[in-house]
C-alpha cells in the first residue's frame, strides 16, 4: 500500500508558551489504513492534526500528504485532505442538502463531479428527508453524521478526524465507526483519527500512536502494542506508556 501521509519531525511552539506543543512528531499512514493518535488532554494531538490539515504552520519539520508538503504546498495538500474538527458545527441557516452542495462546490471542478459528491454525501449520512430541513433543527448526532458524510463524500486521499464520535450516543457512535471502517476497507481511504475513547480506537484503528507532553512516544499495531506492554487492552497500554513517560 502506498504511503498517503508521511510526518517528518513536526514541531510547534505557540507564542508565549515555554514548551513545544508538538515535539518532533514522526509517523506514516498508508492508503486504506486507519491511524489513531491517542493521548491525554494537552498531549499535542490536535496541534499535530491541525498542522497536517494546513491550519497552523509547523515551527519545524514537515508533513507530506500524497507527496505534497504542508509547508511548501498547502494549497495542493488541501486538495487531498478533508478535516473534521472536534465538536464542529455546520451553518445553521442552511439545509442539510445545501450544506453538502456548498462544501462539494469547494472541491469539485465541474458540475458532474459536484453532483457525484452530493449523491455520495446523501447516501453516506443516511439522513433521508431530513436533509431538506435547516441544520439549526438537527440533533448533535445528525450534525455529526452530516459532517462525516461531508468529510468523506469528496473521496479524499486522507480524512482527518478529531474526536470523530465525541458527544454521540452509543448507536450513532457505532454507526460512524462502521462507516469509517467500511470506507477504509472498500474505498481504500486513509484516516487519521484522534480520540480519548480507547474502546473506539481499539475497535476501529489499524495502528495507533500514543502522545504525551507533545511527543509521540509509541507507534504500532494494536495487537503488537498489547503484546509489547503485556496489556489486556489498549487502555492498559496507554496507561503504561503515560506512566513510563512520567517516571522518566
Amino acid at each position: 500500500m502506498a504511503t498517503v501521509l508521511e510526518v517528518q519531525g513536526l514541531s510547534k511552539k505557540y507564542p508565549k508558551k515555554e514548551n513545544l506543543a508538538a515535539d518532533g512528531v514522526s509517523f506514516t499512514v498508508n492508503e486504506g489504513e486507519i491511524f489513531a493518535l491517542i493521548g491525554p488532554n494537552g498531549a499535542g494531538k490536535t496541534t499535530t492534526i491541525r498542522m497536517i490539515s494546513t491550519l497552523i504552520q509547523p515551527t519545524s519539520g514537515d508533513a507530506l500528504v500524497a507527496g505534497r508538503s504542508v509547508v511548501k504546498e498547502p494549497d495542493k495538500v488541501r486538495e487531498n485532505i478533508t478535516y473534521l474538527p472536534d465538536e464542529a458545527g455546520a451553518y445553521k441557516t442552511m439545509t442539510g442538502i445545501n450544506y453538502l452542495e456548498f462544501m462539494a462546490s469547494l472541491f469539485a471542478k465541474d458540475k458532474d463531479t459536484l453532483d457525484k459528491f452530493v449523491e455520495r454525501g446523501k447516501a453516506i449520512c443516511g439522513l433521508g428527508d431530513r436533509l431538506s430541513d435547516k441544520i439549526g433543527g438537527y440533533s448533535r448526532g445528525m450534525i455529526r453524521k452530516l459532517l462525516l458524510a461531508r468529510a468523506v463524500m469528496t473521496e479524499p486521499k486522507l480524512a482527518i478526524m478529531d474526536e470523530a464520535t465525541s458527544g454521540l450516543d452509543v448507536i450513532n457512535a457505532l454507526e460512524i465507526r462502521k462507516m469509517i471502517k467500511n470506507l477504509a476497507r472498500e474505498q481504500h481511504m486513509a484516516f487519521l483519527l484522534s480520540s480519548h475513547n480507547m474502546l473506539e480506537i481499539e475497535y476501529v484503528s489499524d495502528r495507533v500512536g500514543i502522545m504525551t507532553g507533545g511527543k509521540l512516544m509509541v507507534v504500532g499495531a494494536i495487537d503488537e502494542l498489547k503484546e509489547r506492554y503485556e496489556a489486556a487492552n489498549l487502555e492498559e497500554v496507554f496507561e503504561r506508556v503515560v506512566k513510563d513517560n512520567e517516571v522518566r
Binding site: I56, D75, R78, T82, A88, G89, Y91, T93, M94, L106
Partner: protein
C-alpha cells in the same frame, strides 16, 4: 464559481429572516414615528387656529378710549360678546368658547384720566396636558397682548397726536436686507436659512455613516467569530479554496448587507424627517441632491438653494463621487478592523468586548462632527480626531462644500494608507496561522484582572 458560492453562503448567513425583519421593522418604525410626531405638530397648529377662533371678548367699558382701541386692534378673530352673569364657567359653556377676555367698566377712565394701568380679566379653560393645549393657551395670551399693544397705540394717538404711520415707524424703525459671505463670495440671502440647511445636511450624512459602520462592523464580527467558535472556519480553511477568496467573500457580503441595511434605514429616516417637518426635509433633500426645490414654501426655499449655489456651497456630481469613494473606504476600514477583532474572539462574551474599540472609534467622530466643526478645533484635538480614520468621512461633505480640498485629499490619502495597513493585517491573519493562534478571551481577561487584584490585596 467558488467565490460566488462563498458569497452566496455568506449572504445567506447574514441576511437571515430575522435580519430582514429587523431592517424592515426599523424602517417602518422611523416612518411611523415621523407620522406620529408630524401629526402631533399638525394637531398643535390646528389647536392654535382653533384657539384663535375660541376667544370671546366682553367689553363692559363704554369709554371712547376703549371703543377706539378695539377698532384698531390687530386680532380680528376675537368674537365680541355680552355676559349674562359673573359665573365664568357657565358663561364659557353658554358661549361655547374656551377663553374669555373681559374689559371691565372704568378701564378707559383708569388709563386716560387716572393715569393708572387698566385691568383686564383673562379666563382660560384648562384642556389638560400636551403640546396642543399649551399652544391654545399661548394663542389666547396673544389676544391679551394685542389689547396691550392697541392700548399703547391709542395712548400715543390721544396724548401726543401721533399718526398711524408715525406709530408704525416708531415701532419698526429698521428694515434689514441680509447678505451672506462665504469664502469671498456674496449672496443676498439670510445666513440663518443657509445654516439651517447646512445643519440638516451635516446631520443626515453622519447619521448614515454611523449606522452603516456600526452595523457592518457588528455583522462581520459576529459572522467571523461564530464561524471560529463553531469551528466551521477550520473546515472552510482546510478546503481547497484560496484564503483570499474566503476573505473577500466575507467582506463583500458584509458590504452588501450593510448597504442594504443603510438603504432601509435611510428610507425610514427621510420619511421620518418628511413626516416631522415637510419643508425642512424638502430643503434637506434639495441640499443633498442639489436639485431644484419643489416644496410648497417655494419662495424662501428656492432662494436659499440659489444662494447656496452662488456661495459655492452646492455639491457637484463629482463631489458626490468623491464622497462615495470616501464612504466606501471608511466601510472597508471598519470591516477590515472588525474582521481582525472578530477573528480573535473565542467566545460570545469576548465578541462583545472586542466590539467596544470599534464602537468608540465610530462614536467619537460622530458626536464631534454633529456638534462642532473639527477644522475649528485646537491643533492637538484636531490631530487626535483626524487620526481616527472614520472622521474624514464624517467631515467629507463639509470639506467638499467649503472647498477645503487639502484636508479632503489628505484625509482620503490617510484612509487609503490606513486601509492598506488593515488589509495587510487581515490578509496576514488569514494566510498564516494567526487566525487560530491569536485569541482574546473575556474570561481569561477577567481571571488576569482578578489575579492582579488578589496579588495587590496580599
Amino acid at each position: 464559481m467558488k467565490f460566488g458560492n462563498l458569497l452566496k453562503k455568506e449572504l445567506r448567513e447574514l441576511l437571515t429572516k430575522q435580519a430582514i425583519i429587523s431592517m424592515v421593522f426599523t424602517m417602518v418604525l422611523l416612518i411611523v414615528m415621523g407620522q406620529v410626531i408630524g401629526g402631533a405638530m399638525q394637531d398643535a397648529d390646528n389647536s392654535a387656529e382653533d384657539a384663535a377662533n375660541n376667544i370671546a371678548l366682553c367689553n363692559q367699558d363704554d369709554s371712547e378710549f376703549t371703543k377706539n382701541m378695539l377698532e384698531n386692534m390687530e386680532n380680528t378673530n376675537v368674537a365680541l360678546v355680552e355676559l349674562e352673569s359673573d359665573d365664568y364657567a357657565a358663561e364659557l359653556e353658554r358661549l361655547d368658547r374656551k377663553s374669555l377676555i373681559i374689559i371691565p367698566q372704568g378701564f378707559g377712565d383708569s388709563i386716560v384720566n387716572q393715569r393708572k394701568v387698566g385691568e383686564v380679566k383673562f379666563v382660560n379653560t384648562l384642556k389638560g396636558g400636551g403640546f396642543s393645549s399649551t399652544m391654545s393657551t399661548a394663542t389666547a395670551a396673544e389676544a391679551v397682548s394685542s389689547i396691550e399693544k392697541a392700548c399703547s397705540d391709542e395712548l400715543m394717538r390721544n396724548d401726543y397726536g401721533v399718526t398711524d404711520a408715525e406709530i408704525e415707524l416708531a415701532k419698526n424703525p429698521v428694515s434689514t436686507t441680509e447678505y451672506t459671505v462665504h469664502k469671498g463670495r456674496t449672496a443676498a440671502a439670510s445666513s440663518a436659512g443657509i445654516s439651517a440647511v447646512l445643519m440638516l445636511q451635516s446631520m443626515i450624512a453622519p447619521f448614515a455613516i454611523f449606522f452603516l459602520l456600526l452595523m457592518a462592523a457588528q455583522m462581520i464580527m459576529t459572522a467571523i467569530s461564530t464561524e471560529k467558535i463553531d469551528k466551521t472556519l477550520e473546515t472552510l480553511l482546510s478546503a481547497p479554496v484560496p484564503r483570499m477568496t474566503v476573505l473577500m467573500a466575507k467582506m463583500t457580503a458584509a458590504v452588501i448587507t450593510a448597504l442594504l441595511n443603510a438603504l432601509f434605514m435611510m428610507i425610514g429616516f427621510v420619511f421620518y424627517m418628511l413626516g416631522m417637518a415637510g419643508s425642512a426635509a424638502g430643503e434637506m433633500a434639495d441640499a443633498v441632491t442639489g436639485g431644484p426645490m419643489v416644496s410648497e414654501a417655494a419662495g424662501a426655499v428656492t432662494s436659499t438653494a440659489q444662494a447656496m449655489a452662488e456661495l459655492g456651497l452646492a455639491l457637484s456630481p463629482a463631489d458626490y463621487i468623491l464622497f462615495a469613494i470616501q464612504l466606501f473606504l471608511t466601510l472597508a476600514i471598519g470591516l477590515a478592523i472588525s474582521l481582525i477583532l472578530g477573528a480573535m474572539a473565542t467566545d460570545v462574551k469576548s465578541v462583545q468586548t472586542l466590539t467596544m474599540p470599534i464602537m468608540i472609534a465610530v462614536m467619537i467622530p460622530f458626536f464631534v462632527s454633529m456638534f462642532m466643526d473639527v477644522n475649528d478645533m485646537s491643533p492637538v484635538f484636531r490631530t487626535i480626531i483626524y487620526a481616527i480614520p472614520f472622521t474624514h468621512t464624517y467631515t467629507a461633505l463639509t470639506n467638499l462644500m467649503n472647498g477645503d480640498m487639502i484636508i479632503f485629499w489628505g484625509g482620503l490619502a490617510y484612509q487609503i494608507v490606513f486601509f492598506a495597513v488593515c488589509m495587510f493585517l487581515a490578509v496576514k491573519m488569514f494566510t498564516t496561522d494567526k487566525l487560530f493562534t491569536m485569541s482574546f478571551s473575556a474570561e481569561s481577561m477577567n481571571k488576569k484582572r482578578k489575579g492582579k487584584n488578589t496579588a495587590a490585596q496580599e
